[in-house]
Symmetry: C2
Subunit: 209 residues, 2 copies
DNA sequence: ACCTGAACACCGTTCAAGT
DNA sequence: ACCTGAACACCGTTCAAGT
């Protein structure tokens, strides 16, 4: 079943193979050639399924975001339920992004304007509305800020997580001490303990209600 | 003055040339070969100045962050002055990141553990402490969250900014409507109007005091 | 319609050699 | 010490050709 006018794999297969590479060898290893080879295809065969590598990455982001926000946002639920939805969704999104090393590189490299990304932003806005945000404009701003906090937090966690592996000798350098930042490191702020994250999310959510 | 055992350029020259490329051709164009060529050097000559491309990128991030937070954080100032410092610093950091297209790709690709990045986090923590944060731990968490919000906000602005150029025809697609998100777009949330940004920062800062 | 093979214009990095 | 030139093992993408 090598050549022939019949489709041998699917778009989903390419996305799955790409995630396999992302998980095992990092973002840099997610190449057109690598993905194609993992499926026994020639690099050029990929262009039958996606118009470009960028399109493949967008499909990966969509896959990553799928299912993060449940079907119902709780538009007809109580303010307390809506608040819970916001916190739970933020925690779930962070967990999803942390599952795959290099996921933020993926998210920040590929545009976030897919249907799933916009749908997620919309659900967050709805939840802010029923949880106590005064009007639609405020809800939109709040949803934007919540999404930004989650993204930035994961980006910082990843950056600082990688960094600590590289230069442990920096402790003996002549750099000035950082008592507060070090206290944060001891707290697990850098490593991204879930409790710390949830606390920050709750503060932001409550600030917009 | 082609060869010879005398240093013909400096590390700063390489960083400057790299920013020139970043500004004019985007993050993907910041290559070892491109930077070297801009200075009339061979690609391999760069490895006399930096041990790797990654080291060059880290130097760029440090340059980007330099001067964002002033010398004094206002540790001996009033709580109100400290609050102002936090907001002003966040706004300045965002402006700095937005100056160069592809700056977030740079920041998220290269680690943020340079001296400047840690120093910035420390100054923010100090300011939170004098502005009303109860203890060192809370200040560390607050500084982390503020940094994350700025980073994530710029990342979202960039992603949505690029996206809107690609597919204006999506308005006519069969996708479900997004009234809240669209209201946000009309507000300038996506494009990143400074007023919207400052408002979100103030909410987060006040939530931690 | 789907896929291959060759080709184009690139990458980061290493290494021996020159001055 | 600083730099060049050649080389290695890669990239994304295009294009003509096969079935």
């Amino acid at each position: 079943m090598k050549p022939g006018p019949r489709r041998s794999v699917s778009q989903s297969d390419l996305v799955a193979a790409a995630f396999e590479l992302l998980e095992q060898k990092g973002f840099a290893a997610v190449s057109v050639r690598g993905v194609a080879a993992a499926l026994g295809l020639t690099p050029t065969a990929m262009y039958t399924y996606f118009p470009s590598k960028q399109a493949l990455l967008v499909a990966m982001v969509e896959e990553l975001l799928s299912g993060v926000a449940g079907q119902s946002s709780g538009a007809d639920a109580s303010p307390e339920a809506a608040r819970d939805f916001l916190v739970v969704t933020a925690v779930a999104l962070r967990a999803r992004l942390r599952e795959h090393p290099g996921a933020i590189a993926l998210v920040t490299s590929g545009p976030l304007d897919g249907a799933r990304a916009l749908g997620l932003a919309e659900r967050l806005g709805e939840a802010f509305l029923t949880s106590g945000a005064g009007d639609v404009d405020t809800a939109a701003r709040a949803a934007h800020a919540l999404l930004a906090l989650v993204l930035g937090q994961v980006a910082l966690e990843t950056a600082w997580g990688e960094a600590s592996e590289i230069e442990p000798a920096a402790l003996w350098s002549d750099a000035p001490p950082h008592p507060i930042t070090d206290a944060g490191a001891a707290l697990g702020v850098r490593e991204g303990a879930e409790g710390e994250f949830r606390l920050a999310i709750e503060r932001l959510v409550d600030a917009w209600r």
